[in-house]
Symmetry: C2
């Protein structure tokens, strides 16, 4: 018998199917194999192929937009939103629109084409997280923005247009729906309980243990109780903090360590899966210090999303989180 | 410059990008070509390969589960949810779950393998819609169900596991999130305006004309103002009605005509695209007669959904609805 499970923060129901139960070998796997590409705009030596760098680490005196860096942040060449202009909010009869104002940046994690977050040394992953943090602090000064989303598409099947490993950052003049739902759910929990919903989840998961994948002094990786996707994995900081960008360097180092470890386990257990990685953090201007709790979500792309999911917002997950956690917990890398 | 547009019912923002503008030839098209399959469980003569039929049309005296039908409804062989059992709602600490009780049925639209909704004669499409209506009326008698979702996955890329053309029906003990959001948005509009949000949209779209694809006496096909996907198309009945299953036969005949016409235009303009089709109808037990308005949504699968969309619920659409409507309006079939 399958189960309907409810995400305790957003109220989203998922169907965890045990009848359509899938093990790793049942998925249509599309392993991500990084090849080489002499025309890659993100490789060292090709700095002229991107827009001018906004930030670089590791330069020992080399000029901007030349080789000699360990990390670069550049504006997206084909941005979804642009910084220049005014929002110009307006109606069209019943409808509402505004100009596509925002920032769309790319964090190039390494000068080397063949690296991934799973193969990079820990300090390079930490550096990438630190670069995201710095960019968020800079963009928060722009009064037009209401939320900043950081994400990664790994592999073409997960939407990556450029193979060279990179994160993306999007500053938005709105609070998008998924962020809004999670924030409001956490706020409602706080109003009733006077406790953070994610702190409550952490305590329960650690005590229960069945869905815990890995623990460190600062971070806990779990398969969420009501996952939308097989092997969906969350990394939660133990210390309550609403915002990713308010996290001290030492905790980002812990996250880098946990992230590298988890992604290597996924690469081994799920055969180099395409995945999406998302950093969930509180919207910029809202007083959510006590109710929201930033975290990371990793979604390996193992299944297709079809009409059923679009129609209902009700996800069908063929792998229980208990099973997924066990597989990842026992994978040694 | 791209635009942020807000869906006036759900409040969902989408980015309609004109910078990443895509024409038909820019999409990665995966034309759906129906082949033949001698082991197809939905073909005439293979009735023993499915569970026992719940409903059949066109039988001139032939026995159930034998040849001689024009349409069959059968339970899904690998159901997402099952009718047998009790909901057994319970908590697990913070979390909530219930048993996977529901109904999951398949409407086989034709005994012939190679037909699609675009190639079937009008009366066969009408018959398929009528069969859905009958099944909804039957399932509504089960007091455990709160909503019924009807959808189609056309083509493997849209999630179809069986090639032979069919619709799916899912009766659920919950009101899923997408349905809830739309229903609540329409209710909020009604509370302020004392008018149906969809009736308002219809009036404005017909007057404006830029997003209208086709009109008939009973139905209007439009590209919605804030579409999540390129060439997303809605068919709205002109007459206000909350529930698909309360629609008279003559209006379903109109819908069948409009649907066949639209799908043939899509097949021509978008080269036989995979698509998802969804019937949005009011949840079963709620008094929504005046505020909700049933309709059909068709989503050709032309783009990939990546981390950005999961992270934010904010969809990036590379084709404006005005452009999509123009293309489909001018396609002659």
């Amino acid at each position: 018998m399958s189960e309907l499970r409810k995400d305790s923060v957003t109220g989203r129901w998922v169907i965890v199917s045990t009848e359509r139960r899938k093990r790793r070998s049942d998925f249509h796997l599309e392993p991500v194999r990084v090849t080489s590409d002499s025309s890659c705009p993100f490789c060292e030596g090709h700095e002229q192929m991107t827009a001018r760098e906004l930030l670089a680490f590791g330069r020992q005196g080399s000029a901007p937009d030349t080789p000699g860096w360990s990390l670069r942040v550049v504006p997206n060449q084909v941005p979804v939103l642009r910084v220049e202009g005014t929002l110009d909010r307006q109606g069209e009869g019943l409808f509402d629109k505004m100009n596509g104002i925002g920032a769309h940046e790319v964090i190039i994690e390494s000068p080397r084409h063949e690296e991934t977050l799973a193969t990079l040394p820990e300090d390079a992953v930490e550096q990438a997280l630190w670069a995201c943090r710095e960019r968020v602090h800079d963009l928060k000064r722009d009064q037009r923005f209401r939320s900043i989303v950081i994400f990664k598409n790994h592999g073409a099947a997960a939407g990556a247009a450029v193979e060279h490993s990179h994160l993306q950052l999007l500053a938005l003049p709105i609070v998008p729906r998924e962020v809004r739902d999670e924030v409001e759910g956490a706020r409602a929990h706080y109003e009733i309980k006077e406790r953070c919903a994610f702190c409550d989840i952490l305590r329960q998961e650690i005590t229960d243990g069945r869905r815990v994948i890995a623990e460190s002094a600062d971070m806990v990786a779990v398969s969420p109780y009501a996952p939308r996707f097989p092997f969906e994995t969350w990394i939660l900081p133990r210390r309550h903090e609403a915002r990713f960008e308010d996290t001290p360097r030492q905790e980002l180092a812990s996250l880098a360590r946990m992230l590298g470890d988890l992604l290597r386990r996924m690469d081994k257990a799920l055969e180099m899966p395409p995945y999406n990685l998302l950093i969930h953090s509180a919207p910029i201007k809202e007083a959510l210090g006590e109710s929201y709790h930033w975290h990371v979500e990793i979604i390996p792309k193992l299944t297709k999303v079809a009409g059923f999911e679009w129609a209902t917002g009700l996800y069908l997950n063929p792998t229980t989180p208990e099973e997924a956690a066990e597989v990842l917990r026992e994978t040694r890398v």
